[in-house]
Amino acid sequence: MNAFEYTRAATQQSAVAAIAKDNGAAFLAGGTNLVDLMKRGVTAPSRLIDINNLPLTAVEKTTTGIRIG
């Protein structure tokens, strides 16, 4: 796995701002896909922005579809 910078996002706004200004950054949530791909060398983000502590865990049915996060 490549070495990367690791940061924890405190707010949704700071998470979005962080990813917007860094092309090599990726969001890290559960990691079941991303960490696996990083282990196999398929993907190698230079920065991971941990969004696990953000209140984005809802899956809601709306009138027009499903809202995730």
């Binding site: 070495a3 924890r8 990691g31 079941t32 941990d50």
Partner: protein, 209 residues
């Protein structure tokens, strides 16, 4: 069970003189090396050279004991548990999230520790198979696995038991078919599945999980 693991949790485990010499010789080599080579080495040599690079502080509770650790961001929870803390009950089966042998609880939810970066457990509570029993008194799920012979070689078993405890607590162990579905992430090469399902159902019906 190895009682020494409790000592390992409070003391640094590496031979400090040996690791100091290792780190100094690597640092000396790095100071004489061009920057481009360092960059290449950083990505190629993984654990060995990575040891002298950026570590982060990590504050996590493991089996009820608060730990202040220092980890590199790419260390997985599985490797932290096994290599740094010598809690080898959790097994490395595939290291890619496919077998479930590495299942532990993070804040009460079952996760594959091989795909969990240790740094994401900051401020959380981790429970491993070593943390299930109450001293010498086995957890009801452990007792059920023994009673119903829910294992052969035993390699998948810690992961099965950790997964089973959460499966019951989630309310996903109402029928054998439901157990099979919600524990499909824990595979068993020996094929002890029928006994595992029986153990889980019995433990669930015992009401003490």
């Amino acid at each position: 069970m190895d009682d020494n693991y409790l000592d390992d949790l409070t003391e640094p485990t590496s031979n400090s003189r040996r690791s100091f010499l290792k780190q100094s010789s690597v640092l000396a080599a790095i100071s004489l090396t061009p920057k481009t080579v360092i960059k290449a080495a950083q990505n190629g040599f993984d654990e060995k050279i990575a040891d002298v690079f950026e570590k982060m502080p990590l504050s996590v509770k493991i089996n009820g004991i608060a730990q202040q650790l220092s980890v590199e961001p790419r260390v997985t929870l599985l490797d932290l548990l096994r290599e740094q803390l010598h809690l080898t009950g959790t097994k490395k089966g595939c290291d890619h999230g496919q077998c479930g042998a590495c299942t532990v609880h993070v804040n009460g939810r079952r996760v594959n520790s091989c795909l969990t970066l240790a740094v994401t457990t900051e401020g959380k509570e981790v429970t491993t198979i070593e943390g299930l029993a109450d001293g010498d008194k086995l957890h009801p799920m452990q007792e059920a696995f023994i009673e119903f012979d829910g294992f052969q070689c035993g390699y998948c078993t810690p992961g099965q038991i950790m997964s089973a405890v959460c499966c019951v607590r989630e309310g996903h162990a109402n029928t054998p078919d439901q157990v099979r579905e919600f524990m499909s992430g824990n595979i068993c090469r020996c094929g002890a599945y029928s006994n595992i399902v029986e153990a889980v159902m019995t433990a669930k019906n015992g009401g003490k999980i």
